[in-house]
């Protein structure tokens, strides 16, 4: 099945939870990523139990703050 991850197709053999996708997609610092599934925010407590289906669109949103002077 194919999931859209940040706009790109991501192929997977088996259904994945959000937690598993974060690992498979090698997301850095997954504990600080905000996840949208089909434009709905997924609460962190629900990452393990939210299973992705063919055609789902997932967005990983990252803190971006910088910090230079």
């Amino acid at each position: 099945m194919t999931i859209q991850v940040n706009g790109d197709p991501f192929q997977t053999e088996k259904p994945l939870s959000v937690t598993e996708l974060l690992k498979e997609a090698r997301v850095e610092a997954p504990e600080y990523v905000t996840v949208q599934l089909n434009q709905q925010f997924i609460r962190r407590d629900d990452f393990d139990t939210t299973v992705l289906h063919d055609g789902d669109a997932v967005d990983f949103l990252y803190y971006m703050g910088g910090g230079s002077r």
């Binding site: 940040n6 706009g7 610092a29 504990e31 600080y32 905000t34 949208q36 434009q39 709905q40 925010f41 609460r43 967005d59 949103l61 990252y62 803190y63 971006m64 703050g65 910088g66 910090g67 230079s68 002077r69």
Partner: protein, 273 residues
């Protein structure tokens, strides 16, 4: 107010786009730029060039040689000067129509509402470099009902969104609270390409100008992300978050919070990208 002959010439390319009427809206407009750094420098320069009549600049830093790689409002001769003074000098030199108001201080829960009220700013640009300031500006704008542009940049990338009260999500809808110390690298640790600040800062200025004109579609309800290495922009639709701690259905936050800057970062407080 009638445009002078000099103004008709100076703003002729604007006037082709939105008429003398639009130009007068810009001249009457008041935009607050918080942070005179990598984002605030290009944003303030383009606002001044366009003829935004009142521009507030907030910063408590002095110009450092390492800033000049991206903070193009400052020059080699202004190293060691207060950033607000250096910025004022450049903006006034670019366009004497602009009333530049400077605030040589950091923003916190006390100062920020006073600064916003000082000139009753129409639109606020978050050009800061740190999360305590970003959450503070978001919360002040949500609680006070002010539109603002959020942005962040690091390495070769950036992101930005526009908040307008009652229209779409706020910053906290996406990022519920401060990342802990060390979770997110700073520009000092990770680096930043100066031109990335130019791209994102110019988008922030564009949003402010569109808001003042009342023209076009703002970047509300979406997060725009930019990756300079792949030259890819993504406009990610973002829904309002009913669980948002400040603008959700049952908000927990009713006043401004002074977060501590994580200890791994440089100075406590504020500053600009």
């Amino acid at each position: 107010m009638k445009l002078t002959n000099e103004q008709l010439e100076r703003y002729s390319r604007n006037i082709i786009l939105f008429g003398g009427k639009g130009q007068k809206k810009l001249l009457a407009g008041k935009v607050l730029v918080i942070g005179a750094g990598g984002l605030g420098a290009p944003a303030a320069l383009y606002l001044a060039a366009a003829g935004v009549g009142t521009i507030g600049i907030v910063d408590y830093d002095v110009v450092d040689l390492s800033n000049l790689q991206r903070q193009i409002i400052h020059s080699t001769a202004s190293v060691g000067q207060r950033k607000v003074d250096s910025a004022r000098h450049t903006l006034e030199g670019l366009n004497p129509d602009v009333h530049v108001v400077t605030y040589n201080e950091w923003v916190n829960s006390q100062t920020l509402p006073q600064i916003i009220d000082d000139q009753h700013y129409d639109f606020i640009i978050d050009a800061t470099d740190n999360f305590p300031a970003k959450f503070l500006i978001n919360d002040a704008c949500v609680l006070g009902g002010h539109p603002f542009s959020h942005a962040g940049i690091i390495r070769f990338g950036g992101q930005t969104l526009t908040y307008v009260p009652g229209k779409g999500p706020c910053y906290r809808c996406i990022f519920d609270t401060m990342p802990p110390a060390g979770a997110v690298p700073s520009c000092k640790e990770a680096g930043i390409l100066g031109a990335v600040g130019g791209v994102i800062g110019c988008i922030q200025a564009t949003e402010a100008i569109k808001y003042l004109l009342g023209q076009g579609e703002l970047l509300t309800g979406a997060l725009l992300t930019y990756d300079a290495l792949t030259m890819r922009f993504r406009k990610i639709p973002i829904g309002h978050n009913p669980h948002c701690a400040i603008c959700g259905d049952d908000p927990a936050i009713h006043e401004l919070i002074d977060y501590e800057q994580p200890v791994c970062e440089s100075k406590v407080g504020k500053g600009s990208l």
